[in-house]
Amino acid sequence: MNIHEIASKLSLDVKTTKGDLEREVTGCYISDLLSDVMANGKEGDIWITHQTHPNIVAVAILKNLSGVIITNKRVPEEDTLKRAEAEHLTIMTGQAPTFEIAGMLYHFLRC
């Protein structure tokens, strides 16, 4: 399943324009600790987090993650979006809490 399909099925708001929406999402990692994502996230994972600051872009790029979903109505900082555009990383936001978004994603990616 690619980023575009996930955004549409989970009613996510795509906040960036330059990311590759056709990029395949191979898994998911959920954490608000950046070192945890660096240690345990896997290439192709979509990352669900509450963090909104620009360092999430650096971590996502370093790990070659497929995209970032910021949950719970949180809004990414302007600098975060600028950095994401420069790196062609897709950032999306979701109104639903992490549990619900993760539950739907699990269904789509694993079932």
């Binding site: 950046l34 070192s35 945890d36 660096m38 963090q51 620009p54 872009v57 971590v59 370093l62 600098d79």
Partner: protein, 147 residues
């Protein structure tokens, strides 16, 4: 790709500069990618360097990352002008951190930085003088990793 001569360079880091965090490690990652090194070697070097970079940004006034890419290994030395580490053994324990609350709220300072550096290194050394600074030396073998 066989590296004949060593390739060296450095990056300057400014303490507190969270905006540019990750740029040095990302540049090093690009250099290693261009050299055609094994993905696993690149990944380990990038993670270890990013964690070292973050420690300088979180704790120190300034620091420098020196890298040398040799035929057999990558050596990354990060030294900083910072508070130093009183008890290195304690600092190496996963979960131990002296980072302030606002840094933790950003998702850093979980006490995973030094353990992550060590896990991704083949050789890892750390020296610190309280009140002066810390030097970390990371060696990652690339010999078996050549494509």
């Amino acid at each position: 790709m066989i590296i004949k001569n060593s390739i060296e360079g450095s990056f300057h880091l400014t303490g507190g500069d969270f905006t540019n965090a990750g740029i040095a490690s990302s540049e090093l990652k690009s250099i290693l990618t261009e050299l055609g090194l094994d993905d696993n070697v690149i990944r380990r070097a990038a993670i270890a360097t990013f964690e070292a970079e973050m420690n300088v940004i979180i704790h120190a006034i300034a620091g420098t990352i020196y890298y040398s890419i040799m035929p057999e290994h990558i050596k990354i030395i990060v030294n900083d002008m910072g508070p130093g580490i009183e008890d290195i053994e304690l600092a190496m324990q996963e979960g131990y951190s002296t980072a302030p609350d606002w840094v933790r709220e950003m998702g850093w300072g979980a006490g995973m930085g030094l353990p992550n550096m060590k896990k991704n290194s083949d050789e890892f050394k750390i020296d610190s003088v309280v009140g002066e600074g810390t030097t970390v030396e990371i060696i990652i073998n690339i010999k078996q990793g050549l494509r």
